[in-house]
Amino acid sequence: MVIEATAKQVYASGVKPIWCPGCGDFGVFAAITKALTDLKVDKSNAMIVSGIGCSSAMPQTFSAYGMHSLHGRLLPNASGARLANHDLTVIGAGGDGDGYGIGVGHLIHTARRNINMTYIVMNNETYGLTTGQTSPTAAMGRKSKSTPFGSIEMPVNPLALAISSGATYVARGFSGDVAHLTEMIKGAIQHKGFSLVDVFSPCVTFNHDNTYEWFRPRIYKLEAANHDPSNLVLAFGKAVEDSQTNWEKIPIGVFYKVDKPTYEELDITLKNGPLIKQPLPTKEQVLKALEENR
C-alpha cells in the first residue's frame, strides 16, 4: 500500500504499530488516512477510538485525538465522546473479537441509536494478540489453539446483525484492496448515522485459512453487480450470500444505506448543538429545579 507523503505528514503520529509484516491492519491504516485526507477532516476534530487487540494500535498511529479503551468497550467510549461533542468526527476502529465477541451487545445498541459515527472492524477471524484462538467470526470447523478439534459454533454474521439492529450504513471492505476500502470508509464518514465497515483484514501469523490469496478469487464488488443498497431485503440477501454459497462468493461493498434521523438530531438537548457548547444552568434555573420539590 502507498500512503501519500502529504497525508502521512498530516495524520500520522510516527508511532509504529505493533502489527506483523503483511498484517491486514496496515491496509486499514492506509485507507483511513486516505479517507481523512480526501475528506479534509480536521485532525483536531477527529477522534479515533479503539478497543483492545492488535487492531487497538490504530489510534496511536494517528496524530488526531484518540482513545485506546477497553476490550469490547470502544463503542460506548466512542458514543460518549460523540454525544458530549458532536462536532467531533468519531471513528471507532477495533477487531472482531472486540466488537463481535465481548462487545457485541454494544454493537446492537449503538446501531439502533443511529449515533452519527463510523465503526471499522478489522475482521481476521482470529484472536491475534492472545496468540491465535478462534474468534466469533471463524467458520465452523476452524482449527486453532482454542479449537484444536475444530470449531463447532456458527460464526456471527456482523452485516446481517448490524442491518437488523438499525445501522444505517453497512459495508464491507478488504484490506487487500485499499482503494475500494477507502471509498467504503469515506462513505461511512460522510454518511449521517451509524456506519459499520467490516473489513477482511488477514492475520498472516495465526489464520492460514483466510489469507489474501484465499479471499481474492472469492471476492466480488457489489457496485459492479448493480446491488441496490437502499433495499433492505436485498441487503439481507447479500449479507448472507457468503455463508449461503459456502464461502465461494463473498460480496464486498455497500450492502445497506438508508437516511434516517440521527440520535443527535432527535435528542431534545443535542438537537440544539453539541453538549459541550451548551450553557450551564443559571442560579435561577437551579432554584427552579429545587422549587419543584416544594
Binding site: 460518549g80 454525544l83 444552568p281 420539590n293 416544594r294
Partner: protein, 582 residues
C-alpha cells in the same frame, strides 16, 4: 422525643405512597419538620407496603424516621397483623370497620379510631381509591393540623385533573377530618416557613446539575433509579441523559464524555457497580474525571433489592485491578448530598480521577424537609486544562510529569493538543509502552515514573484539601459513635436520647472515606471510648480505620437486616455497649 410518627400501611396500589407524600407536603408547607421512609417490596401490585412520616416541631431537624408508630392507618388486614408490634403505647389505629378487624389488638394499649373510609369514598366520588384521602383527613385532625393547608395542596396537585377531582378529594378528607367525637391529640410547633421535601437522589441530582454535570448515563437499578428519573425528567433543560444497555456501557460512555470535556456521571447499585469495575479502572488509567454513584442495597448478589445496607464500602474502595487514585465520599444527610456531589466534580477534575459517591437506599429514597440550598456557595473548578499546546512545535504531552502528579489535560477539538488517552501503560505523550517497549530499561523507568506520577496525586490531594478526616460532634463526650454516611443521622439522634438517660455520647462521622488523612484521623479517634456503628456485618469502616490508623474499635453495633436504623433503635442497643466499657 420529638416527632409524631404516622405509618400508612396497605398493599401496593392502595395509594399508600401518595398518601405519605401528601402528608410530607402538608407538614412542609405548614411550617413543620418531617421525615419520611417507605417500606416496599419487589412487587408492583399487592404485597405489603407502608410509608412512615414523622412530623416534628419546626425548631428541631428530625434525624431519622421514627422508631414506633404513634398513628397507624391500616388500609387492610395485613396492616394490623404486620404493624401491631411496632405500635407505641397509646397509639391511634385508624381503620375501616367494614373491612378490617382489630380484635387482635390490645384495646387498652391503643386507641381505636374506626373510620368508614370506603362508605365515605363511595359517597363523595364513587371511587374506592379515595378512602385513603378520608383517612388522611382523620390523621390531620389527630395531628392538630388545619384542613386549609390540605385543601391548598390538593388544589395544587389535582387542579390539572379538574375541579371535580379536587372537590371530591377535599370532601373526602373533610369527612375524615370532621368525624363525630374526633379530637386532636397532638400539638406540633410550627413557624411560617414553607419547606422543600427532598430525597437524597433528588438532592444529589440537583447538586450535580448545579455543578454543570450535563451528562448522566445509567441502567435502571433500585435504589439508584431516582437519579435516572431526575435526569430523564430534566433532559429538556440543556442536559443529557442516556439510558444504556447495561452498566458497562454507562460507565464507558461517561468516560468517553468526560474525556471529551463535559462533566459526566453514571450511577447504579452494587450489582451494576460490579459491572462498572473495569470502566472505573479505565478512568483511573486515562486520568479521566468521572463521578460514579453506588447507591447500596442489601447484598450479596440480588440480595434484598428494596432494602438498605452499607455493605459496599470496602468494595468501592478496592474495586478494579491495579492501583490508582480515587476518592470515595458518602453524604451524611439528604442536604449534604447536594453539596458533596458538587464537591465531587471539583475533586474529580482537580485530581483527574474517579470520585465515587457512596449512597444507599435509605439516603437515596427517604424524604426530608429542607430549608433550601446555598446555591451561591457552589463553585466550579475544572482543574488544569490546556487551551493550546504549551510547546507549540512539539507533540502534546497529555501525561506530562509534574511535581504534584497532575498533568494539564486538553479537550478534543482543541488544535495542537491532540493526544490518545490510553488504557495501556504509556509515556508522557500517551504512547503505549506496553507492547513493543515494556521491559526495555528506558521504559521500565517510564513505568516507574508514570505510576509514581499518578499515585502522587493522592499525596497532593491530602496536602491541598482539609476534608479527608472525620467530623466530630460533642467533642467533650465520654463515648462516641464512629460511623459514616447515612448512619450519621440516627447516631446523632441516639445521642440526644442517651443524654436523657444520663450518658454523654458524641459522634465521629466520616463523609470523606478515601483517601484518609491518617494523622488527623488518628488524632480525632485516639484515647476516646469508641462504638462503631454500621449497617453491615463485617464492620467495614472499622476495618478501614484499623488499616489507616492502627486503632481497633472493639465495641460495635452492626445491623444487617435490611431495615433502616433509627435513633431510638441505636440508643437502645448502645446502653449495654456503654455499660460494657471497663
Amino acid at each position: 422525643m420529638a416527632g409524631i410518627t404516622v405509618r400508612i400501611a396497605g398493599a401496593n396500589g392502595d395509594g399508600v405512597e401518595s398518601s405519605g407524600a401528601l402528608l410530607m407536603k402538608v407538614a412542609a408547607k405548614n411550617g413543620m419538620q418531617a421525615f419520611g421512609y417507605r417500606g416496599y417490596q419487589s412487587i408492583i401490585r399487592g404485597g405489603h407496603v407502608w410509608f412512615q412520616v414523622r412530623v416534628g416541631d419546626c425548631d428541631e431537624k428530625l434525624q431519622s424516621y421514627g422508631h414506633t408508630i404513634d398513628i397507624l392507618v391500616a388500609l387492610n388486614q395485613d396492616a394490623i397483623l404486620n404493624q401491631a408490634s411496632h405500635l407505641s403505647d397509646g397509639a391511634s389505629v385508624i381503620y375501616d370497620p367494614t373491612k378490617v378487624k382489630v380484635d387482635t389488638l390490645d384495646a387498652t394499649k391503643c386507641k381505636l379510631v374506626p373510620v368508614p373510609m370506603l362508605d365515605i369514598a363511595l359517597q363523595v366520588s364513587g371511587d374506592p381509591i379515595m378512602r385513603n384521602t378520608v383517612a388522611m383527613g382523620t390523621v390531620l385532625k389527630l395531628l392538630g393540623i388545619e384542613m386549609a393547608v390540605f385543601e391548598d395542596i390538593i388544589k395544587g396537585m389535582f387542579s390539572r385533573k379538574g375541579e371535580k377531582i379536587v372537590n371530591s378529594n377535599v370532601q373526602a378528607a373533610s369527612k375524615g377530618y370532621g368525624l363525630e367525637g374526633l379530637q386532636s391529640i397532638h400539638s406540633i410547633k410550627k413557624d411560617g416557613k414553607s419547606r422543600f421535601v427532598l430525597d437524597g437522589s433528588t438532592s444529589l441530582s440537583i447538586g450535580a446539575y448545579a455543578s454543570g454535570c450535563n451528562f448522566y448515563a445509567a441502567y435502571p437499578m433500585t435504589p439508584a433509579s431516582g437519579i435516572l428519573h431526575w435526569y430523564a425528567a430534566h433532559a429538556d433543560k440543556g442536559i443529557f441523559f442516556k439510558q444504556t444497555e447495561d452498566e458497562i456501557a454507562a460507565i464507558n460512555m461517561a468516560v468517553g464524555a468526560a474525556n471529551a470535556g463535559v462533566r459526566a456521571m453514571c450511577g447504579t447499585s452494587g450489582g451494576g457497580f460490579s459491572l462498572m469495575v473495569e470502566g472505573l479502572g479505565l478512568a483511573g488509567m486515562l486520568e479521566t474525571p468521572i463521578v460514579v454513584v453506588d447507591s447500596q442495597r442489601t447484598g450479596p448478589s440480588t440480595g434484598l433489592p428494596t432494602k438498605t445496607e452499607q455493605g459496599d464500602l470496602l468494595f468501592v474502595m478496592h474495586a478494579s485491578q491495579g492501583e490508582f487514585p480515587r476518592i470515595v465520599v458518602a453524604p451524611r444527610s439528604v442536604e449534604e448530598a447536594f453539596y458533596i456531589t458538587s464537591e465531587a466534580f471539583n475533586l474529580a477534575e482537580r485530581y483527574q480521577c474517579p470520585v465515587i459517591i457512596l449512597m444507599d437506599l435509605y439516603i437515596s429514597e427517604h424524604v426530608e424537609t429542607i430549608d433550601g440550598f446555598d446555591i451561591d456557595s457552589i463553585k466550579i473548578d475544572r482543574g488544569k486544562v490546556d487551551k493550546s499546546n504549551p510547546v507549540p512545535t512539539g507533540r502534546y504531552k497529555r501525561y506530562l510529569y509534574t511535581e504534584d502528579g497532575i498533568s494539564p489535560r486538553a479537550y478534543p477539538g482543541t488544535p495542537g493538543t491532540e493526544f490518545v488517552a490510553p488504557s495501556d501503560e504509556h509515556d508522557e505523550y500517551g504512547d503505549l509502552t506496553s507492547d513493543a517497549l515494556s521491559g526495555i530499561d528506558k521504559y521500565v523507568e517510564v513505568r516507574r515514573k508514570m505510576m509514581k506520577k499518578r499515585m502522587t496525586k493522592i499525596e497532593t490531594m491530602l496536602k491541598n484539601e482539609s476534608i479527608f478526616a472525620p467530623g466530630i460532634y460533642n467533642e467533650g463526650a465520654d463515648y462516641f459513635f464512629v460511623t459514616f454516611g447515612s448512619s450519621t443521622g440516627p447516631a446523632m439522634e441516639a445521642t440526644a436520647l442517651l443524654k436523657d438517660k444520663g450518658y454523654n455520647v458524641g459522634v465521629i462521622s466520616f463523609s470523606y472515606l478515601m483517601p484518609l488523612d491518617k494523622e488527623k484521623t488518628k488524632e480525632i479517634l485516639k484515647g476516646r471510648k469508641l462504638i462503631d456503628l454500621e449497617v453491615n456485618y463485617t464492620a467495614q469502616l472499622a476495618q478501614v480505620i484499623m488499616m489507616n490508623t492502627g486503632i481497633e474499635i472493639e465495641k460495635r453495633i452492626l445491623e444487617y437486616d435490611g431495615e433502616a436504623i433509627t435513633g431510638q433503635g441505636v440508643a437502645d442497643k448502645a446502653v449495654s455497649v456503654i455499660q460494657s466499657f471497663k
